[in-house]
Symmetry: C2
Subunit: 407 residues, 2 copies
């Protein structure tokens, strides 16, 4: 008799964003004349650039011709794309990666969710609090946690990110085997310094822990002193996997393309150098069949000099949105964090209002959808996240509505 994976029963009723969508739908239904301004989900809105479109079209046209048609590609990715990623690490970040350490994927979300499967079922997970919900939920499903306990799960090491520590956590004070770090952080917009990463790398090496470093927002870092890749910091290759994406750097949220770096120097308690790379290789060749060959041609184009320059303009555009939103919220008397080297602003509610209560207030008064901070973890309570992704006109309208209508 088949039984279900009962760990699913521990999960909260829904993923954060469906609940945001549900409340928004209810409000819209009750207020059919209200125009809703969405500053909620971190979804790109600007069209792809000419160089990328050209690459994608070439990808399609290749498939129309017997001479250039390709079927299954390498699960690890097109070798031209892997090489382009290696070259970018070298040129833009001064980091030397080998091609067989690069695993192209269909995005950072699946990689973030799947990466823990190559580690033991009893691994203790440490997370930034607040954090992207996928890190938690994927480990709940895998049985690495106890029961839900309010908004937390037993067995997870939550590392609070608060005003006190500049929203980047201190190293764990308890045992932790897999440590998820996201910088620039979703949702707080905080970026780790080299010194902060160094402390985690030292902790990981000392304790043979593995850091899962999510760098999906690295293109938004303007400050040249801040590291984009964790491998800019010494020792990281011995203890860190880096996950990245074309979603936010090139508008590929719907196209689906990302990559992970699993260095051959990486070790674990029972894994000599090379072993973890070979495990991820086995995982991907067995359970994945490669990213779309069309998307990969687009990725190659996005990493060309023209592609990078064109996409920088779009990043600048979103960051101008961030500046506009920042200015309005400060004027309205909010304490605002992030949004300078990241596309997210992390904002404190006033009078210690709960996140979901403020979500409802913002929706009701200003018709603006934001994301409640508590949905990202207990330390997010009393905060909300504002996304800088959006069309300028919508951002300006949202900001005007906040100015005029938010009490």
């Amino acid at each position: 008799m088949a039984k279900i994976n009962a760990h699913y029963n521990k999960l909260g009723a829904g993923y954060l964003f469906p609940e945001v969508a549900r409340r928004t739908r209810l409000f819209s239904a009750a207020n059919p004349d209200a125009t809703i301004y969405k500053l909620g989900i971190g979804n790109t809105t600007m069209p792809l650039t000419p160089a990328v479109i050209h690459g994608l079209k070439k990808g399609v046209e290749n498939l129309a011709d017997l001479k250039t048609y390709t079927g299954y590609g390498d699960e690890q990715g097109n070798s031209r794309l892997r090489k382009a990623i290696v070259d970018m690490y070298s040129k833009e970040h001064g980091v030397s990666i080998e091609e067989d350490e690069v695993f192209v994927s269909d995005g950072a979300k699946p990689d973030s969710a799947n990466i823990s499967s190559i580690f033991s079922a009893d691994a203790i997970i440490a997370l930034q609090d607040p954090a992207y919900p996928v890190y938690v939920d994927s480990n709940v499903i895998a049985g690495r946690t106890g029961s839900a306990n309010g908004v937390t799960y037993d067995g997870i090491v939550y590392m609070p990110c608060t005003e006190r520590n500049g929203f980047f956590p201190d190293i764990p004070t308890r045992k932790a085997d897999l440590i998820y770090l996201c910088s620039p952080n979703n949702p707080t917009g905080a970026v780790a310094t080299k010194e902060q990463l160094k402390a985690f790398i030292e902790f990981a090496i000392k304790n043979r822990a593995v850091i899962i470093f999510d760098a999906a927002y690295w293109s938004y870092i303007k400050d040249p002193k801040l590291p984009r890749s964790i491998y800019e910091v010494e020792g990281a290759k011995e203890c860190a996997i880096e996950i990245n994406s074309f979603s936010k750097s090139s508008g590929f949220t719907g196209v689906r393309l990302g990559w992970s770096i699993v260095p051959k120097a990486l070790v674990a308690e029972d894994a000599a150098p090379g072993k973890i790379t070979s495990l991820w290789n086995r995982r991907q060749t067995t359970m994945f069949n490669g990213a779309s060959n069309i998307a990969q041609e687009g990725g190659i184009a996005a990493l060309s000099d023209t592609g990078l320059a064109e996409n920088q303009k779009i990043i600048d555009y979103y960051m101008e949105n961030a500046r506009i939103i920042h200015k309005c919220l400060v004027e309205k008397g909010f304490e605002v964090f992030g949004g300078v080297n990241a596309p997210y602003l992390w904002v404190k509610t006033k009078d210690s209002m709960k996140s979901w209560d403020f979500f409802d207030k913002m929706l009701k008064e200003a018709h603006v959808v934001i994301t409640p901070g508590s949905g990202f973890g207990p330390s997010g309570e009393g905060y909300f996240r504002v996304s800088a992704f959006g069309i300028r006109e919508n951002v300006l309208n949202a900001v005007q509505s906040i100015r005029d209508n938010l009490k």
Copy 2:
């Protein structure tokens, strides 16, 4: 201290196809003047049809324009594509499926590998022997098996597919919770009759087992009496998940697009109707981010009347390859199975020669790459698989070389 998922250590050294590729490379290196003819891997070779190319281009062009750009889509798939799949089930197979039972994916391989994760870790797996290696390997990795024991794993129920039973297995005589069936079968090319599926459905309902039905090759079924979808057989919705793909019907092996049907009527020991559908929905929304929006536009085009008609011609082309190969092998005195309602021929070696020995002989004498049957399971020993995917000229050359050179 992080430890690895030690179940990986149970896996054989490599996936079957990398070993085929390795031996082929070695032979090529030692015989640089030999032309190698590949009838090995089931990879499509014909270019995409005009209707599909048009759809894919539209998918790309949508992303070039602010008005039609889309970012994240629903993880479950574009609603137009889900509707097209529902309509196809109804029109082509007389099967009524609801849209929220359709989950679009990046292909049948990932879905086959991931589907067991919504079931309990102690589920007993039953498999056709021989079978597509992903069913076995994904469950080894998930810890649902004991150690490797020669070519089998302890704890798996192997269901032999032999000449005696027409290469479709009898129902299990032992307890089995998750039963993988693939029809048309990879590698044997055997297709289950309605009566054969009915026996499995009755077994599953009686024992509250779940059938994972892989229908990725259904487009190759010519005989109208043979079921393409398991839902053509009464009772299947209570006990079966169906996995399917655009890879072999529309040449999408590199484009990456598939779907699974998880019916709301499906039950398990601890799952009332609707529960398993909601679990797969949670799995996909948490751990997957949707198939590429470009690929999905291609899929919609592939399911249009024009797309279906164009792709039928390509299927006919591959099946003419199958006929040509079949004729040659019979003339050479081989016993040949499959290849009539499936793109794979399943061939007995002569004089009980072992599969890998015959692989080496075929490569050495005729310079033709086939796939050793033993790579698909112990009952595959003494057989080899020949794939009908390929360009006609290559197939004709391969066949001529077998005629002239195989001793």
